[in-house]
Amino acid sequence: MTPTSAFADDTHWDHPHPRRGFFTDTSICIGCKACEVACKEWNRNPVDSDYEILGSSYDNTGGLGADTWRHVAFIEQTQDRIEEARESGRALVNLGMPRVGPPQAASTPAAGGCACGSAAPADDAAGSGCACAGPSSATTAPAAGGCGSTGGCGCSSGGAGGASAGTGEDGSPVLDTPDFRWLMSSDVCKHCTHAGCLDVCPTGALFRTEFGTVVVQEDICNGCGTCVAGCPFGVIERRDDGLVEPKTQRGAAPMPDTVKVPQDGIAQKCTLCYDRMKEDQTPACAQACPTTSIKYGERETMLESAQQRVAQLHEQGRTEARLYGANPKDGVGGTGSIFLLLDEPEVYGLPPDPRVPTADLPRMYKRAGMAVAGMLALGVAAFAAGDRA
């Protein structure tokens, strides 16, 4: 599959390779942080800082940064917030939001007890895809019980259950977490179509790879920091400190400095495991994800499965589900990493209406040109009038 012509035109990207990307389905994320660990290990990223408890549910990482390229967000919500989220999702439908592709016919839910597997795309339903088959099989759970209360089951979605178990007496969907839910979402670099970081990089250190992703060349970046401000998502950051000291035998010689301080002082972010992609390998986070919440593949395929999944969830009455980054007309031209969210983006720490700053650059240059002309004209006028002053 070749990249869509719009993407190729917009980014002057003419490789025969298909554009690759992630689809992060937060409805089946269990918050295990395997992606964070796998990413850190594979890319040998330093520790962020001293270990500390941030007091934000199970999230002690904080956010994406130079040393954290996958970040799992944890949000605890009570019933009113769930209702609000469901309502805001419904409002999106009522707005007549564009359907990016034709709505796919959802596969009929499996009749099994797996709450989530039935809702996952067909290829995930078997095997590890079932993340939510906890003891809380929908209506049989006591009213006060539910997914969030059963320690091992971190099912953020709750799930509408099977066809038979998921409906109440009046036929409306009954959710097994009526009064509490736990949202978990693995955030990552968006690999935007219109990448702010890439646009503003003055050295050419940031480049668009043959897979349509955006990567920093470590030996070129001089750490000017412009890209940090250019990113509308706050992903890329300059690595100022942090040491990686791989485990060694006790008493062994210390590691050389080049190992201990990898790429100090330069901008760093997710590469979508460029090194692994070149070997036809799956990125570390996607490979480590036990629930297939993180899916990796050609972006077109990811988009399709994202659309299928959101249609399925809506069919089950879970109108809080929505896609993030799937719209090529948005402020960044669509993202390479698509997300399925269960609440407004800002709840997850994502901007609600990101816009690549360079979109306004022509206007800025025009205004700056006017200002320059004004200053030079003022100079001429000052010397013309100066003798009288």
Binding site: P202, N222, I236, E237, D240, E346, G379
Partner: protein
């Protein structure tokens, strides 16, 4: 929430403290809204509703510190001074020309040092010259600064040579230098204005909410600020007989800055404009305005007296520095609170939706 059937015997729990508080701002405590014990002013404008992830920032501030803020000032000062130096050169104001050239090179040199020192890898500063990239204001600015500094350097070298009575060991290069005097002076003068303006584009072309909201008007603020700063430097360093044009330049700069700042704040989303009026940046900008008015009035009314001119010049330069520091740090502040990212974005999204544009949201349902 109960964990087992036995939990029904427990006394009722206190309601959960919601972690995701609305209207969460750093430093905003229990007393924020109601006036509490009466020691604080009650906010008359309701805080905008917004949600965030534990009040954490969404976008990141660039890792720039006061060195960059200083460069914003020095770049403007250098640019404006070279404009005045060119004028002095063409109209035969020798001291104004000399001081303008030396000031331009000095400010550009200091600014370049500040820029390089702020890099994460200063030893790679020449990587800025690898490419010429119009989409990157930083790239354009680097080239601009390099070409400007070269021109200003030659012009200043001529000046130094003249000051030392042609005692520099230039040998056969002296005639070449003399021939280059006018072209480089014109080059530095003409490039001075863009040098003063591009830094506004550099700040505007970011996701930092307050800076980006300023992008339409900041160039006018910055060139005005550069004009009044360089006019101030001339007033401070040059005898009043030659500073007539510099006074006009400075006073017009003051007027331009006052007007541009007002128009800019009005055009901004009110929430994104808040950091310009709060905290230390707010105080700096306030003082910058006071000093520029004082310096402008001084230059206008008493600019023919040496000491009044010098004091006005110093006030104008301080004003320009405070403007740059205020704008710079207001942007850095605006990143710390997600409110400044979320609320303006929500506002513009809702505005588009109200206009019936519903196909450009990043959030879709299919």
């Amino acid at each position: 929430m109960s964990l087992s059937p036995y939990d029904s015997y427990r006394p009722p729990e206190e309601p959960r403290r919601t972690r995701r508080r609305k209207n969460r701002t750093p430093g905003g405590g229990a007393f924020r809204r109601g006036g509490g014990d009466g020691s604080r002013e009650v906010a008359m404008v309701p805080e905008p509703e917004f949600t965030s992830y534990y009040g954490r920032p969404i976008v990141k501030a660039p890792p720039w510190d006061s060195k960059i803020a200083a460069y914003l000032f020095l770049g403007g000062l250098a640019g404006g001074s070279s404009v005045l130096a060119l004028g002095g050169h063409l109209t035969g104001r020798d001291v104004l020309r000399r001081n303008g050239r030396l000031g331009a090179l000095g400010a550009a040199g200091l600014g370049t040092i500040a820029l390089v020192a702020d890099l994460g890898r200063p030893e790679r500063f020449l990587h800025m010259m690898r490419t010429f990239k119009p989409t990157s204001p930083m790239s354009l600015g680097s080239w601009l600064l390099a070409v400007f500094a070269t021109n200003a350097g030659v012009a200043a070298a001529v000046e130094v040579d003249r000051m030392t009575g042609e005692r520099l060991p230039l040998g056969p290069l002296r005639p070449v230098l003399r021939v280059m005097e006018t072209p480089t002076s014109v080059g530095a003068g003409v490039l001075g204005a863009p040098l003063a303006a591009y830094t506004a584009v550099l700040l505007g072309d970011t996701s930092v909410p307050t800076w980006h909201e300023m992008h339409g008007h900041l160039p006018f603020v910055f060139v005005s600020s550069a004009s009044l700063a360089s006019g101030g430097l001339a007033l401070l360093t040059t005898p009043v007989a030659e500073t007539g044009p510099a006074r006009v330049f400075a006073v017009a700069g003051v007027a331009g800055e006052l007007a541009a700042m007002r128009v800019m704040k009005r055009a901004m989303d009110p929430v994104a404009a808040e950091p310009l009026e709060q905290g230390r940046p707010g105080t700096w900008l306030e003082w910058s305005e006071r000093l520029s008015i004082a310096g402008g009035l001084g230059a206008l009314l008493g600019g023919r007296r040496r000491w009044v001119a010098a004091a006005s010049g110093a006030a104008l330069m301080a004003s320009s520095a405070l403007t740059r520091f205020g704008v710079f740090w207001a942007g850095k502040e605006s990143v710390k609170d997600p409110k400044y990212t979320v609320v303006p974005q929500r506002n513009r999204l809702n505005k588009r939706r109200a206009q019936g544009i519903t196909d450009d949201s990043i959030t879709t349902v299919a």
